[in-house]
Symmetry: C2
Subunit: 494 residues, 2 copies
């Protein structure tokens, strides 16, 4: 992977990059417009805003000249039985030149919940530039990268340069709630992918604040819901405290049985299927540029669980982790309420890794929690469910697709990317690869400190604009792959 020399820019690249530089205010204005839509797919009452966002995205693709098909997914049933309409998935096509290779770009335009009072310094739905950073919910996850790709295509159109590749688009609005219905849709629409050569996903972050990266693996995500139900109503802790089995006490004990203070998951058998650590993988970790202090500062915490780069990368990429997210049904407001809640629901998730099977993980969790619960002799009712399960993904870094992306990165950023994995989950990488059998690349443009899912999410102006350039350069690099084999023997995941 070493040994490539810096190439000076071609005239075409120079023209394209100049256009992008000159139009950055327009591109930021577009992002501002998208961020202003509160397209939070988690909270049911905001579903209509997700719908509106899908219409905006479809209209933007139509302006590029793409044909756009908004495919309805029907409705979603919530845990409480309520039905909510699902946003459509946008399938777009631009260019059908048989001499060109075809890249399919995937992105999502829904976002995580955000409220000013959660600790945002700015209104999360008003894109605000401070010291070169563009703050707003969805700025990096994933509205910014989707628009960077669109900007790159727009640049060719505006400059009247022949498109070097054909484009397809898959844009969804349910990623933050597990891409519900997408897998089934992709299976139904396999014809859409028959002439696709490569699939590009740009929904992750670099490992560093400054150095670009390409991603070849992600962890999965098995989300669990643990419900403990006592009587049929909340009770007063004075009138009943001391004589009943309190559901929240049971739930706290169940949640406390999951993970030890060192982060080790306590569920029997959970590590059994974890892939053995190979020497090649170890070497990749050793050579990755990774600044522990920087990552720690990005997290805002004072001390990490591990002190060496290799241990940290192992526990983010190679091993599963378990996080507890919260409890539904208990008192959660400021102040005091001396209540014994009747029904409480704990939420936790396991980021699982190859080759942990979702069905095995679910069974191990259920068995473990039922065992812990049985020992308590509680008359309360326990219900464990896995409302969301996404598989992990890993691919081959020696593919020409990765090489093309690496060259585009060298052209724009002047250095090679790191080849990294991501501890978080983009279920559709694995889904796309399995269903289409096409090569998939994860090509992030956001930096490590962008704070996706967090307060004060941002993308820097540099990353947004250089990211637009890198995508534009990538189109040219892909066009150079014409005539090379576009079949892999095996995409490499199970």
């Amino acid at each position: 992977m070493a040994g490539m020399s810096f190439s000076s820019l071609s005239a075409l690249e120079t023209e394209i990059f100049h256009y992008i530089e000159a139009h950055q205010s327009d591109f930021i204005e577009d992002l501002k417009e998208w961020v202003a839509v509160e397209s939070d797919s988690v909270q049911p009452h905001l579903r209509k805003e997700v719908m509106r966002m899908m219409s905006l995205a479809a209209a933007r693709l139509a302006v590029l000249g793409a044909t756009v098909n908004s495919v309805s997914l029907g409705s979603q049933q919530l845990l409480n039985g309520q039905h909510l309409p699902q946003p459509p998935v946008i399938l777009g096509e631009l260019g059908k030149d048989p001499k060109n290779l075809t890249i399919c770009f995937y992105g999502h335009v829904d976002v995580q919940p955000a409220r000013r009072e959660d600790g945002w310094k700015t209104n999360p739905y008003t894109l605000t530039e401070i010291n070169g950073n563009l703050y707003g919910r969805g700025a990096t996850d994933n509205k910014g990268p989707v628009l960077a790709w669109i900007n790159a295509v727009e640049t060719y159109r505006a400059l009247k340069i022949a498109m070097p590749v054909n484009f397809k688009f898959v844009i969804e609005g349910m990623e933050e709630v597990g891409s519900l219905g997408l897998e089934e849709l992709l299976e139904e629409k396999q014809g859409f992918f028959s002439d696709v050569d490569y699939i590009v996903i740009s929904d992750n972050l670099w490992l560093s604040k400054k150095k670009p990266a390409l991603i070849y693996g992600t962890r999965g995500n098995a989300c669990f819901s643990v419900e403990v139900e006592g009587g049929d109503k909340d009770l007063h802790s004075g009138t009943f405290g001391g004589i009943i089995h309190e559901p929240l006490t049971d739930l706290i004990a169940l949640l406390d049985s999951l993970v030890d203070p060192t982060g080790q998951i306590q569920i029997p058998g959970i590590y059994d299927a974890v892939a053995p650590l190979t020497d090649e993988e170890k070497k990749l970790y050793e050579s990755t540029e990774y600044d522990i202090e920087e990552h720690k500062n990005n997290s805002g915490v004072k001390k990490l669980l591990y002190n060496t780069k290799e241990e940290i990368l192992l526990h983010l990429w190679h091993y599963p982790s378990l996080s507890i997210h919260g409890i539904e049904g208990a008192f959660h407001e400021p102040g005091i309420k001396t209540v014994i809640p009747a029904k409480v629901i704990g939420k936790f998730s396991i980021r699982q890794v190859p080759y942990m099977e979702l069905s095995d993980v679910k069974q191990q969790v259920v068995n473990h929690l039922e065992n812990v619960f049985a020992k308590r002799n509680s008359p309360n009712k326990l219900k464990v469910s896995m409302p969301l399960g996404a598989k992990p993904w890993v691919t081959d870094v020696n593919d020409p697709l990765y090489k093309a992306a690496r060259r585009a990165i060298r052209t724009v950023f002047g250095e090679d990317p790191d080849f990294i994995r991501d501890g978080s989950t983009i279920p559709i990488a694995r889904i796309f690869q399995t269903i289409t059998q096409k090569r998939v690349i994860m090509f992030p443009i956001g930096a490590a400190d962008d704070g996706e899912h967090s307060q004060n999410e941002k993308i820097s102006r540099r990353n947004y604009i250089e990211g637009t350039k890198v995508f534009a350069a990538f189109f040219l690099e892909i066009s150079k792959l014409r005539g090379q084999s576009n079949e892999t023997s095996n995409p490499g995941t199970k």
Copy 2:
């Protein structure tokens, strides 16, 4: 306590009871008007409704002919630093006949939070009669009993019967948040109590659905707040899960260390100061009429921690209990959010009993949690506080005051009351006794299944109207105590 014969009603009692029967619709209409005010003192945004409720209550006392003094308490500082105005305390006086004894009635007109979607069958702020029950937030805790007392006084006024006693009133609007500021006010206004003979509190429930009770003791309430803080922002569980010490995992372990599955508190030393169990107390438990099945049905749970009446009463009255109420700062909504919360605050409380000292309990809790936390080697910050501490209370059931109440109950209900304690906390019983050195009685009119603090809180029409009669009869019984000693050597609590 046995051996009293049923007395037939006097002409005066007959006239009074007839009036109350005939005006029950008016009394229910008054309760409906009070329940309609969302005087929730827990949620800051409803504080103005508490204020409005205080004005209504003051106006109602003025109509009785009472002189009313609304004493301002200034403002309350919330945990988040916000300042909220405190509702005033109403001090009312009606009658100053030096030949009469003076009863001071205490009640509160603030309520616990209630929302239809918590599981109410009716709008919690619209008093609704179904099968003889009046459903609404505050119906039994404590607007109904306050109005029953006012109705009883009103009856004498309407019938132009000379008041058999002088009245004083203390009505507050902060009981549900621990009667903040009341203790200091009572100390300042000791002069108000100089001519008071007895203090009546009607803010508890009978032990049974049908059989009246008088209460001679309550548990205290030490409310704790356990804050665990990691970094300065919430994090994505994919990007950071597995390499950081998650604050919520720490908090869950801390909460799980508090109480075992049998309800036994695990904090070292916590039982050291619990009063020894005397034979007299044991006998009182044995003779108390208590239907385990009924109490279990009222709770809505399938199985209690104990199977005998004596064990249950011991654990509600004689021993402390610990309940966990919930967690602030974590994800609490329906659905999924794969967040690692940065700062979480667990809420729990201990109902402590004589002779546990609040300062000792606090120190034991702090020591215990700090020890558990230290063993975890977590870099997160732990902060334990006790935002509310109310002491337990117990008094002498052989006092003439209790005998007078027992006679009034026999007159109206035709049977002797049970002499019981209450597992819950009425801090002002202990406060009134300590500050005024007057005898205090807890004289409930609500039934065991009234659901205070719960969904579908109610008072039955029977309890509300017979409760009004019992208070009216009690005034006559108190007037018969004139000439008897109204000093006790020692009210009996520490």
